[in-house]
């Protein structure tokens, strides 16, 4: 009995050690680790990020690679699925760094997981670019190696509030319904501040639990509060359901704003007619126009590359993932080495134009230089209504 136990344990220790010994390839490519939620609740988001990274990597390799000093390296992205489980994302980050010997890291999806995994890359001093983490709380730990391509949440709620209040002074009462989760809650709190700063009355502020199957009680409450503007946050599943239940109970305010979902074509397809006139804001939109120094060059070029590779238009999450790669590439080329701390310094001092927008990182590592557009679903398309320079249509009220 005990003998078999011992043999068994020995075999297992040996197998664990065998795992430990794998990896460690010779340095002729630049390897970038990408822990992604390819399965589990966040898998739609994970697949978007993967499309963005893939397009960047393919574009780079088609052009021969990244030029570092006088050599040129192709890039290789090492994907690992963390099954939408944050502890596993942290473990994945360490595995990519220590076993797969990646030179750089792309953060896992979303604010919570990006924040959790950043402690690992910080300890190893691996420059890490977060393509989908906007909440200021992600960057508040004083980390040196974490950089994010989304501006803080108030850069979405401020222009939204501006355009709504300036275009329709009758909008006075705001109802906010937020998913009790890092990013959706953080942006809802910013919305509350933006509303109060403009003397709008916040007539309702409620949180709902993750995995809520029914919003009818919140909607009933909302109906009683008679808002002119409904602001709901969550992920695409929550938002489709909330939009439907608003219609079910005849809640029909002048403005319905939802973050983050309406930018995705899945929201428009699943929402059908109900998606019309839903407004939102995001960090990027295919209608923006920049003339970048990065591998994609102009926004038009990026859109064309996307169209050729996947068909259709990229949404902001997909573009941000591609931009994360392009920005990292600019930093590596600027540093002239793949030595992590040099690339980190290059990232921190970056001040360039890209297809994605102007890129400059603030003190905390979060980008500060984007002007997120406001858009509204009109005729089944996300249509830019703000800022003036790239506006495609006027904001429509019910």
């Amino acid at each position: 009995m005990t003998m078999t136990h011992k043999v068994f344990s020995a075999a297992l220790v040996a197998s664990l050690l065998a795992f430990g010994a794998s990896g460690a390839a010779a340095q002729d490519v630049i390897r970038i680790g990408a822990p992604l939620p390819l399965t589990g609740p966040l898998s739609p988001e994970g697949l978007k990020q993967q499309r963005g990274y893939d397009l960047w990597a393919e574009t780079v390799n088609a052009a021969g690679g990244i030029t570092v000093g006088d050599t040129t390296y192709p890039v290789e992205i090492v994907y690992v699925d963390y099954a939408s489980n944050t502890p596993r994302a942290v473990q994945t980050a360490e595995r990519l760094i220590t076993e797969d010997r990646v030179n750089f890291l792309f953060s896992p999806f979303g604010s919570g997981a990006a924040k959790a995994a950043s402690s690992v890359s910080e300890r190893y001093g691996i420059p890490t670019v977060a393509a989908t983490a906007s909440s200021a709380e992600v960057y508040d730990q004083g980390y040196q190696y974490l950089f994010g391509t989304f501006t803080p949440n108030d850069t979405l709620t401020e222009p939204l509030s501006d355009i709504v209040t300036s275009a329709n002074p009758d909008v006075k009462r705001v109802a906010i319904l937020a998913r009790n989760d890092l990013f959706p809650l953080a942006i809802a709190q910013e919305m509350e501040k933006s509303a109060q700063a403009r003397d709008l009355e916040v007539v309702m502020f409620e949180r709902y639990a993750i995995g809520t199957m029914d919003h009818s009680a919140a909607v009933t409450q909302m109906r009683a509060a008679q808002p002119d503007w409904v602001f709901a946050t969550g992920y695409i599943n929550d938002l489709i359901l909330i939009r439907r239940q608003l219609a079910d109970q005849g809640v029909d305010p002048a403005v319905i704003t939802m973050i983050a979902g309406p930018a995705y074509r899945e929201f428009i397809e699943a929402g059908g007619a109900l998606a019309e006139n839903v407004s939102s804001a995001a960090w990027w939109h295919p209608a923006v126009r920049y003339d970048g120094e990065d591998i994609f060059g102009t926004t038009e070029n990026f859109n064309a590359a996307w169209e050729a590779r996947y068909g259709g238009e990229a949404d902001y999450a997909e573009a941000s993932a591609a931009a994360a790669g392009a920005i990292l590439q600019l930093a590596i080329e600027k540093a002239g080495t793949i030595e992590p701390s040099a690339v980190r310094d290059a990232l921190a001092s970056l001040d360039v134009e890209t297809f994605y927008g102007h890129v400059r990182f603030g003190e905390t590592g979060q980008i500060t230089s984007l002007e997120p557009p406001v858009f509204q679903i009109q005729n089944s398309r996300p249509t830019v209504v703000f800022p003036e320079a790239i506006k495609q249509a006027d904001f429509l009220f019910r």
Binding site: T39, G40, P41, S43, P44, L47, L177, N180, E206, R207, Y208, A209, G211, T212, M213, D214, H215, S216, A217, A218, T220, Q221, R223, A224, I236, N237, I240, L241, R244, Q245, A247, D248, Q249, G250, E266, E269, A270, G271, G272, A273
Partner: protein, 288 residues
């Protein structure tokens, strides 16, 4: 009166909960199998309805039959081929088995259909029924009524048909039923098939209410679980009472204390009920 609206919300929600839970309850009560696959079965039923509507224009209410039939076949096969081999094992073993099967089936659906949310958007949705200050969304009400009809049909079948009585006999005492000449293995497979059928039918009804994705499966499973415990295992009326009770409590809890507390309140109620009446509202005493 706003309370009427809240009550209506709760009843409609409860009807759907009951429909999700009844198949789960049947399998748990009769086979003593906690079927982790149940949530995935519900989602599979919803996909059947979605594909039928998207490609053939079949109304999801009609697809209830198609989804039920497909799921019955799947359920029957799984029970006859796999679960029956370990049906005599303790509940933890069968639970582990269905957990493993669920990992496989759910992962297969994720690969086949992707996790992107889909929704049946009816070309001609039923109009809302407005009674004074109360809004009743037409399609939801219709789905709830159908859910009740189906559940009632199942209840009559269990009471009045030969197979139904055999199922009840197995539930009451497996050994005695076997001695009386009931083909227990076959009844097991039929029962599991019916459980899957009810899950598929519920999924088809839900397809017009909820976004469809494999990743919603655990949410449905969780609701089925709670409803079962509230109502009492293995009893069809129990699942109905449990479902409605949960729906109404969640609706009022969310209304009075805020939507973030709805879950806490229903869990609190569940704990309380377990102290007072561990067999569920309609459970028989001494049935542990």
């Amino acid at each position: 009166m706003i309370y009427f609206q809240v009550l209506a919300n709760g009843l409609i929600l409860g009807g759907l909960y009951a429909c999700i839970a009844v198949g789960f309850s049947l399998v748990w009560g009769v086979l003593n199998v906690i079927n982790i696959l149940h949530g995935t079965f519900v989602v599979l039923g919803a996909y059947v309805a979605w594909f039928a509507y998207a490609y053939f224009g079949i109304h999801p209410f009609v697809s209830v039959v198609i989804a039920g039939a497909i799921l019955y076949v799947i359920g029957h096969a799984i029970q006859a081929g796999l679960i029956n081999r370990v049906i005599a094992a303790p509940v933890l073993i069968t639970l582990t088995l269905t957990f493993g099967l669920d990992l496989m089936l759910n992962n297969a659906m994720l690969v086949a259909f992707t996790a992107d949310y889909r929704q049946v958007n009816l070309a001609n949705p039923l109009p809302a029924i407005i009674i004074g200050p109360v809004f009743l969304p037409g399609d939801r009400v219709a789905a709830m009524v159908l859910a009740f009809l189906l559940t009632g049909l199942l209840w009559r079948t269990l009471r009045d048909s030969k197979i139904g009585r055999a199922i009840v006999a197995v539930r009451m005492d497996r050994e005695a039923a076997a001695l009386m000449g009931v083909p227990v293995a076959r009844i097991n497979a039929i029962t599991f098939g019916i459980g899957a059928l009810m899950a598929g039918a519920a999924g088809a009804l839900l397809s017009i209410v909820y976004p469809i994705s494999p990743i919603n499966a655990p949410i449905f499973l969780g609701k089925a679980f709670i409803v079962c415990v509230i109502g009492g295992l293995g009893s069809v009326p129990g699942a109905m009472v449990g479902g409605i009770a949960l729906g109404v409590v969640e609706a009022f809890g969310a209304f009075w204390f805020g939507p973030e507390h709805a879950l806490t309140i229903s869990f609190g109620l569940l704990l309380l009920l377990l102290f007072v009446r561990p067999g569920g509202i309609l459970g028989k005493k001494g049935y542990e």
